[in-house]
Symmetry: C2
């Protein structure tokens, strides 16, 4: 069963908005055992949408379309699909009830613009959108199906989970596809590739290996059609075990979240160059309050002193980006917030602020527990600010995971 | 001039990685006056890539392809393009110099796997990739062009800016496309649409209006083919001026960054439910240290007391999510960090932790300056954690902007 995803919107095509819908939908479909063959983005333009729909309807079993369903004038998907399938717009009582319910719950009056959202092509089946006023429409057509969803990410996601995927599974028979992630840190992609080549060559044909490097972390992803023997991983651990920090997570923040939650350990953060990024990645996950007590974003030196207790003499003698400072930051925040563990970062994220001695990309990271503090100097050698922030963040998470696994 | 972007990678197609390359490339091309008609994602599969390339080469003037150029076995783009254009692989002295330079600068030895990165199809022109070992390849073909770029985002971005866009501009003649953003906050998309309809209907044909709602903010984007009279905005301000918080920025964090930098005001943050998200959005921008002194992520009540000076009696009497607490958080952080302005957030991000009195989505936000503190209660009415965090963040930024514009 082959699926094409079409995301409609000028805002995507000119790059003002990152197309997270494609990845969310692909991830959900893949997890449900369906095969996404192509995703594409077209603008709010009749002919481009029509061409994309027509091509996809001739090459895929199911075509999922997002966007262009809002109440505003640039939203043209519904009328276009109505024409494409040779149908006519009628008011759907179910869609109208839904629009009315949502407006009532918000205490607003139903305007004619909003009432028009209940108009749908006669030939489609409406799948109720509990979270929004735009209807989700299911068009069966010559053994294939086209599904039109709103582009609002949380509405789309809810509809995929509760309406579209169950109905696709019911309509088509799908093969099981599993994925397995292994998180590798502390070795570059090409060196890792050389190191594990014997293992890679020994993999059976139904397992596909991909290298996904992101900000200093390489995610090895096994895509398995059918089933596999988990013992196959032993060969990988034999070759590269010391670089493997975890399995079955997408990111290191997810791994930290899982590890701290399972072990009942608490954490505080003291961030300079990462500017709150470590705290926000952890607190983005539900349940973080069980282990995350809080953090200090100590951007200026005054705040490093006043909020973390870094000594004035330390900053004067060694500077903000130094081993002595990062150690005092980690120890200070751990003590002041009363946690088992602490992370601290200080560095020069760039693009400016570097010196010959401490160029942009120079970062000190420390992790602390009751037994002591480990600090590490990193030289990322790049002057891209976001990259330096992301790499520092991943490095800090990896150091924390290793500390926990060794000592707790 | 029509451009198609093809991003290759199983990791994109199964949704493990969000395809930021498409939006980055689209944004850069649009800003350079070029017209992206379609972007698509295909997996690491010969036939799918070949079909996509072939279709695009028949319908576009330029086809930009990313991915599949790494040293590992799942990277197949180069050989495939070599076959497609009927050429053969030869070692490029320029590409080899580049690979050698990069390995030397990192202190690594050149392995055969990496040396193979200097092999390129004879029929292409190599555009030097200063930041990485994968070559960028320019294939002229019957008046059209295909460009193959590495998928690593920062290498791709550097190549686009320094190699590909200048060469496309030199090769093709392009029409100027301008965009103008207006940031609107405090009114829903459909109400805004009703409110500004007379103005929207009066826009000339060369101006296209789009509504881009994100987390409580609506970005109005005008896309202008050719030129326009800026006075045209007066009609919009007459109708919706009180909801407009700014122009010419993509996001509210960019607007806050610009406003604080220009006015020389300093800021501190006290975040509970936003968990560091406000701090990291500001510090992600180069130059934030000029105004951002630091922040406290006060996730637990103990940290609200110890690091921000919120009174124990306040928390006991009103709870952490209350007007009294958010005011003390804002005033506490402003005083302790010694800044002109402060932002504070406290709320129930969900999905758990709500009560009948304070359901998930209940958020208090405060902004403070030397003259006092303004606090606002928000009921987002949704139990999506990230959405509540993002909306709280945007609301806090909008309140800060309004405070600055009214009083500073």
């Amino acid at each position: 069963m082959q699926i094409t995803i079409i995301n409609i919107g000028d805002e995507l095509l000119i790059g003002q908005v990152v197309n997270t819908n494609a990845s969310t939908m692909s991830r959900m479909l893949t997890a449900a055992g369906m095969d996404v063959r192509k995703t594409l983005v077209v603008g709010d333009e009749r002919q481009a949408i029509r061409d994309a729909v027509d091509e996809a309807m001739h090459t895929s079993d199911a075509v999922l379309v997002t966007g262009g369903l809002g109440p505003t004038k640039d939203d043209i998907t519904k009328k276009l699909l109505c024409d494409y399938f040779g149908s006519e717009l009628v008011e759907s009582p179910m869609a109208l009830d839904n629009v009315r319910r949502i407006f009532e719950s918000r205490g607003y009056e139903l305007t004619p613009v909003n009432r028009a959202q209940a108009l749908v092509p006669r030939c489609c089946e409406v799948l109720n959108n509990d979270l929004g006023t735009a209807p989700c429409m299911w068009f069966p057509h010559e053994g294939r199906v086209l599904v039109s969803l709103p582009g609002v990410p949380f509405e789309m996601e809810w509809l995929m989970r509760n309406r579209v995927i169950p109905k696709l599974q019911q309509t088509f028979n799908t093969e099981v596809i599993q994925t397995k992630n292994i998180l590798v840190q502390g070795i570059g992609e090409s060196f890792l590739s050389d190191l594990i080549e014997p293992w890679e060559l020994s993999l059976p044909a139904n397992i596909k290996l991909a290298y996904l490097p992101v900000a200093g972390l390489t995610k090895l992803r096994l895509t398995v059609h059918g089933s596999y023997d988990p013992a196959i991983l032993k060969g990988l651990y034999d070759l590269a075990g010391k670089y493997i920090v975890g399995e079955d997570c997408e990111t290191l923040d997810e791994l930290v979240h899982k590890t701290l939650t399972e072990r009942g350990l608490t954490l505080a953060t003291a961030e300079s160059c990462t500017g709150g990024n470590i705290a926000r990645l952890l607190t983005a996950q539900a349940g973080a309050s069980a282990y995350f007590k809080g953090g200090i974003v100590a951007y200026s030196n005054e705040v490093k002193e006043s909020a973390l207790g870094v000594k004035h003499s330390t900053l004067a003698a060694h500077g903000a980006v130094s081993e002595a400072t990062v150690r005092e930051m980690a120890e200070g925040v751990r003590q002041r917030l009363g946690t088992d563990l602490a992370i601290a970062t200080t560095g020069i994220a760039g693009p400016d602020g570097g010196t010959k001695e401490k160029p942009v990309g120079t970062v000190w990271i420390a992790v602390a527990d009751a037994n002591g503090t480990e600090a590490k100097l990193l030289q990322f050698g790049a002057n891209r600010r976001q990259q330096n922030i992301d790499r520092s963040t991943n490095q800090a998470f990896a150091m924390l995971i290793r500390l926990i696994c060794q000592k707790h």
